[in-house]
């Protein structure tokens, strides 16, 4: 029986902050790259 617990399941409050910051940014901007698009030029 494997009793080894995953090491990276500890909750890091910084993760919440990062997700919140990302959501904040995405509410105001949206980014796209036109690389690979055909017929754009």
């Amino acid at each position: 029986m494997d009793t080894t617990a995953p090491e990276n399941q500890a909750h890091d409050p910084a993760d919440d902050r990062t997700a919140a910051e990302l959501a904040d940014a995405e509410s105001l901007i949206e980014e796209v790259s036109i690389d690979g698009m055909c017929g754009v030029y």
Binding site: L22, A25, I29
Partner: protein, 91 residues
Amino acid sequence: MPGIDMDRAWDLHPQVSVRPEPFGALLYHFGTRKLSFLKDRRLLAVVQTLKDAPTARDACATAGVPAPDLDRYGAALAALHRSSMLVERTP
């Protein structure tokens, strides 16, 4: 995800063109060929004010960003910096 220092001076990258739109603005970087849609006219005002403001915080204040929204606009500026749309400048 590091943000930007709101107490430093920033500006649009010289290869970035801004086209105001009814929904906000369209930013195009001729070097990276990336597009960023600003979905807010006030964020456009912030971006346009950056070049004359001593700090990003001042640019936000000049553009009328309410204090409770400062983090949200700071996050948006940080995202623009990560995509090379914004560069730090010497005031």
